[in-house]
Amino acid sequence: MSRSIIDHLWLIPAAPLVASLVILSLANSRRKSAAALAVAGQLAAFAMSAVAFLPTLRSDGFRSTHNFAWFVFGEQTLRLGFILDPLGVAMLLMISVVGLCIFIFSVGYMAADKNFVRFFAYLSFFSGAMLGLVIANSLLLLFVFWELVGLASYLLIGFWIERPSAAEAAKKAFITTRIGDMGFFLGMLWLYDRSGTLLFYDGGRGCLEPAGLAMLGGSATLIALLIFFGAAGKSGQFPLHVWLPDAMEGPTPVSALIHAATMVAAGVFLVARVYPLFSWGALDGVTPSLTMVVWVGVTTALMAALIAIAQTDIKRVLAYSTVSQLGLMMVSLGVGGVAAGIMHLLAHGFFKALLFLGAGSVIHGCHGEQDIRRMGGLRRSMPATFATYAVGMMALSGVPLFFSGGWTKEEMLHVAANWPPSRAPYYLIAIGVILTALYMTRQIIYVFFGSRRAAAKQAHESPPVMTLPLVALAFCSVFFGVVLTPAWPWLHGYLTGESVRFDPMRLIQPIFFVSLALVGAGIGLGAWMYRKAGAQDGDRPAEIDPLEYAQPALFRFLANRMWIDELYARTIVAFAWASARMSDWLDRRFWDGLARGLGAVGRLLSIFATGVDERGINAGVDETTMGARGLGRLLSLAHAGRVRVYLGVLALGAVALLLFYAWLD
């Protein structure tokens, strides 16, 4: 049974991809068909993922692969394959469920858009590519899907093609991730060169299995770092994080699906997938590559959280929040808590999608307004949105006990605390937790509490087609936590292959209190600082943020994203422009001049040849004919026409001849 499942695993990404192709062929008017096809494709993928889930429940550390030869060149064969294991299946389920909710939401959100059909084609395409990514058993196959996902992201960020800012953002996203992909590709090449195979698991010969890893020797660290560079690009880690906030130019469902739940998760997923490479030769669970991962993650988490405090666009706050959370996941993976990181990834997928869709609902209700300073008091006019958004906010902040996010945050703090080299990451991410709670509280106060400002005055609740997915995701955000508690760490055991047992006594761990304290501090601080946000408070005008009023310089620094984008523009981008200009000059002046010079030489030669032909040859021929004519004229003088002359000449000739003969004697 499981054999046939693994052999047909490729059907799961195939369903949405086929749906995408069919939708592309539809006319723009066939909206219902497009939406129906997309949702059907996604449902099919979900159903098949559920079926694939079953075999993995059976044994511990289940892993089944289906490898095939792709093409043969010379004596080498390039093999690809699919893998069925807990990590992959968990991702499949999350992607298909979240995707399904977002697809349904988009039916309502994009109802007014005239490119409805194209949107669903791209969404399905993305979904198929993402599903394929998580079940790939070959680094090359993974890379192929990786690139396809990047392409889908580009198409979807720049979906509103008439907006220049959207096109710019799409370009920025693509190029930034491309830089990361360069590292990924180099690492892949190096890996192939050293180990001879790109298959992860291949009956003992795979590159992630001990025999394959042993072939790498000392280069394992560098290969891992190169691959991590690619993951950092895709997951928006520092310094390649700059594209993610700009990616908010795309429609909100896109932000929800791609830039919160799934695509950005691909980087974290990649690290988890090739974890044996990262942890090869670990001493005490620590390797140089993993240490690098930790520090990059920590930096990203803190930096993004700080920036999020000063953002005024509802989606930007969430975008930086995503970056920060991804950093947290990377830290977790780096310190050895692979399961913890993946669990947070899955939970984050649910509640971040929920938050983005909620933001989308708010934007829709406020007729396109995205500035949180111009919203307020929406909890009365958009109650369903408010309720679900609050659930998402609390899950993200890590409120313990009831929300999945709380349990995963607790787990991550736990593994970070136990990292042998240093406790600094632990302290730093603790600060990150406080900040997360802080900025989420700020946002929710601005948007839903206080008095109604500006666009919020005419706000109305969104239609059920949009609010129902919100409810579904909120449900998941809460009840997903059931399998995450320490009392019954089922998911943890599922992912790691360890056996678990239900033990209610273990529900409250020591770390629970730490987490509770941190979250409480954050929410409390936020509630106090921003209690009068959006409203006039003494000297402070209504539109000025309280933090901005208190610390303008700091606020400006954070609001401008720590000037990192500007730094890049001044240095890297400027350099690229200068190179381009120099190339252009070189091409135009130098090569063009060279070509023209050659042309001039050719022309000169032709002039010379013409000259030779005209002066030399023609003149020569003319002279010769003149000479012949002259000679003829000269010779014709011999024709005197008079008989006597002829006779005389004849006689003379005869005499001469006679003399000659006589002389001969």
């Binding site: 010779l635 024709h639 026409g641 008079r642 006779l647 005389g648």
Partner: protein, 104 residues
């Protein structure tokens, strides 16, 4: 002094030269013809002389040649004179210098 072949040859050479003189230095067409006849006659004399002083053969070759030469020269003289008359009729002149239409 007995006349040798040499002397006959010299005489014929002289006759020939005189004929040449006549042909070259006179402008009248008939004189040219006279000159030609004289030259031919000189040649005939040569032949006969050689026949007489040379070894005698079965057939008198020299004599025969001279005979033929006489016949032919007579024919040629006739035609030549006819030409002179024809030219005279056409151009009203017998001056050979005036017949230079073939002048190149």
């Amino acid at each position: 002094m007995t006349p040798t072949l040499q002397s006959f040859l010299i005489v014929s050479a002289a006759l020939f030269s005189i004929g040449l003189l006549a042909a070259l230095s006179r402008r009248h067409a008939i004189f040219v013809l006279i000159g030609i006849e004289l030259m031919l006659a000189a040649a005939n004399l040569n032949f006969i002389a050689f026949w007489r002083f040379g070894p005698q053969q079965e057939a008198p070759v020299g004599v025969l040649i001279a005979l033929f030469s006489i016949a032919i020269s007579a024919a040629e003289a006739a035609v030549g004179l006819a030409l002179v008359i024809a030219v005279y009729r056409h151009y009203r002149t017998t001056n050979v210098d005036q017949l230079d239409q073939l002048k190149g």
